[in-house]
Amino acid sequence: MPDFAKARTETPAVASGVYLNNASCSLMPQPVIKAVQDYFALEARVGGYPAMAQESAALEAVYGSVAALINAKPNEIALMGSHTLAWQSVFLGLRFKEGDRILTSRSEYGANYVAFLQMQRRTGCVIDVIPCGNDGATDPLALEKMIDDRVKLIAINWIPTNGGLMNPAAEIGNVARSHGIPYLLDACQALGQVPVDVKELGCDFLTSAGRKWLRGPKGSGFLYVREDKLSAPGCEPGIIDDFGALWSQSDKYEVIDTARRFETHEQQPALRLGLGAAVEYARTIGLDNIRERVNHLAEGLRGELAALQGIRVQDLGGERAGLVTFTHDDIPAADITAALHKENICVKTIPQAGAYLDTQARDIPELVRVSAHYFNNEDELEALLKALRAAIGTG
């Protein structure tokens, strides 16, 4: 059994309040903070490029760590400044014509859906939403029936921003691969809370931030690109520079052969090292252990919430992640979040526009989201429930 109590002592922030907003941005553990700070100190001491040269082995090792985390090869990894940059770089590199179809999930995140709408306006491509099964998860059987030769991309999120739902990403991968359709998986909420294996998922592209369950710094993210995609013609980022492509002749450029073609020359080494430290920290604890613990805390919380008068747990899906969402019959979510904040308990209100298609289909205005990580403990959840009972008048 991993030492979650030790992980807690290595998390300075737990002393200042009950932090249950790990799905937004988790708390960095000490080794991550140290990696970032040490590198900044080095830069201030010896200069930016000399610092990078001195730490080149450590910076290179970050690719290996991220690759090991998701069962990929280091040459399939690009380190990015954020999840959005990673996702956009892939999405905008794909070419769409009028009538081409993008298939997505009902739970799609606002950042991605706005990009779909923009692409639709620009090219006349069509956005089609894959229906959900009875449990509210994206339905692979329904997807199979939608496939035709106009489908140019399947782009879904694995775990949405607004609930415990886990879409069946691997089953969707099977469908995508059997038809040879590019599959872009937004795994922003998955990394660091569940084991991730790109071979099992069958995705061609996978994107994530570092700041969420991985506990890395803000300003870090990464992209996975399957090796056989890299050697396929036309696999180009939406926007390229002289790092991703070599300016070989005055009128020609050649993209480099690794996933780093999606990066730009300018980068932030301190945050990359922070990301690497976060990945190693998670791997040391073990993703299976983390998954078990996070699930245990989330399921326990759902049970307690369901017993409270007026509270409705709003999580969909059969298999669930560590995001717990609920509404109250009379009290707006924002009021509940504010009441909890007064008790020094940090949770998040998810607005309708976070995942518009889903919230509209389910007729939910906004939700309270509670996301407990492995370093949180039962006492903290008890404190949350106590404050919640007081806020809704059942205490």
Binding site: C25, Q37, S82, Q88, V114, R211, T264, E266, Q268
Partner: protein
């Protein structure tokens, strides 16, 4: 300017002779503290919570950057780096087959590869504005090139590979007279000289934080002229640049932040703001006076060393000094410097391929002093160089 004080606020000077400010400047203490302070706060209370608590200071960072270039706060977008800032502006332009982009000969590779990508995608044409006799982009030649096919003028103000300062304001006058959008890559300018977007007449200006501004790596910014904000749509939008207002609708923000994304690193933005404040406090005019003096002296001294050729072109020159040696290659000079704790860099031909080919350049040694460098440091550099080249 109190050199002693600025040096005392620059921890790096006690460890290295840092003469690569065109690569990355050394962060002064207030910049490093701003970044570290916010990382600590994030670790203590959480990322978004820290952002909310520091909201006023983050907003003030936009005002500081705006002030640095004579813009309005609403005209500034922050970016992960200068490349991303520039790309966001460039890819927001729309081109049809046969439409022309006019560029400078000293164009930076990052930009040129993007032109080629756009050419491949849209069939637009890339035309290089000729240089005048001094090697600077020639505004008169530009004037003669203008026709109704010209869709964009995009130049690098100060190239990566030398002291050249292109006549950005004269080019701006032509762009404005013909109503052609003007994108200025000013990566090397802010922090080493006064910058004023109205004098420059540019519609878009991109820059980085990590060079002469002395900000943290991982920062850059984009200026977008107010009148452009009426219609221009970024190539990449997310729900921050364009809130998802109804299931099938989005609406762009009215300010330049439509070019940003929701995800950001506030610690770095605070560092960028602190760097702008620091430069403004010292004064950009006195900074320019000092770096110009240091660089000019350096060129004079280099000229006196046998077999060394200073490679800077143009009449107006900045703090970037480049040279070659007849026999010793530039990497060997850089390594010899590094062994003595002196940071310089090497500018390679592929970084500015058009210029390198036109001038038949190989790799150049690039030395870029900043105001906090002392005369003694330059003397140390020169004496090591004399030793290396005198062997």
């Amino acid at each position: 300017m109190d050199i002693k004080q600025v040096r005392s606020e620059t921890p790096g000077v006690t460890h290295r002779v840092h003469l690569d400010n065109a690569g990355t400047g050394l962060m002064p203490k207030p910049v490093a503290d701003a970044v570290k302070g916010h990382i600590v706060l994030e670790a203590r209370i959480g990322g978004y919570e820290a952002e909310a608590q520091e909201n006023e200071r983050i907003e003030a960072a936009y005002s500081s950057v705006a002030k640095l270039i004579g813009a309005k706060k609403s005209e500034i977008a922050f970016a992960d780096n200068a490349t991303v800032a520039w790309q966001r502006a460039f890819f927001a332009q729309t081109f049809s087959e046969g439409e022309r982009i006019l560029i400078a000969e000293a164009e930076y590779a990052a930009n040129y590869v993007a032109y080629l990508q756009m050419h491949k995608r849209k069939g637009c044409v890339i035309d290089v504005i000729p240089n005048d006799a001094s090697g600077a982009t020639d505004p008169q030649a530009l004037e003669k090139m203008i026709d109704d096919k010209v869709r964009l003028i995009a130049i690098t103000w100060i190239p990566t590979n030398g002291g050249l300062v292109n006549p950005a304001a004269s080019i701006g006058k032509i762009a404005r007279a013909h109503g052609i959008p003007y994108l200025l890559d000013a990566c090397q300018a802010p922090g080493q000289m006064p910058v004023n977007v109205d004098e420059l007449g540019c519609d878009f200006l991109s820059a980085t934080g990590r060079k002469f501004m002395r900000g943290p790596r991982g920062t850059g910014f984009l200026y977008v002229r107010s009148k452009m904000l009426g219609h221009i749509e970024p190539y990449m939008l997310d729900h921050y640049g364009a809130p998802w207002t109804a299931p099938q609708e989005y609406e762009m923000r009215s300010d330049a932040r439509r070019f940003e994304t929701w995800e950001r690193a506030p610690a770095l933005h605070l560092g960028l703001g602190a760097a702008a404040d620091y430069a403004l406090d010292i004064g950009l005019k006195s900074i320019r006076t000092r770096v110009t003096k240091l660089a000019d002296n350096l060129r004079d001294e280099l000229d006196k060393i046998p077999r060394i050729t200073v490679q800077d072109i143009g009449t107006q020159k900045c703090a970037i000094v480049t040279f070659t040696h007849e026999q010793i290659d530039s990497d060997a000079i850089k390594s010899a410097m590094s062994e003595e704790g002196i940071n310089v860099s090497v500018s390679r031909a592929p970084s500015t391929l058009l210029d390198a080919k036109a001038r038949n350049l190989t790799d150049l040694v690039r030395v870029s002093p900043h105001y906090y460098n002392s005369e003694e440091e330059l003397e140390i550099f020169l004496s090591v160089l004399r030793g290396v080249t005198g062997r």
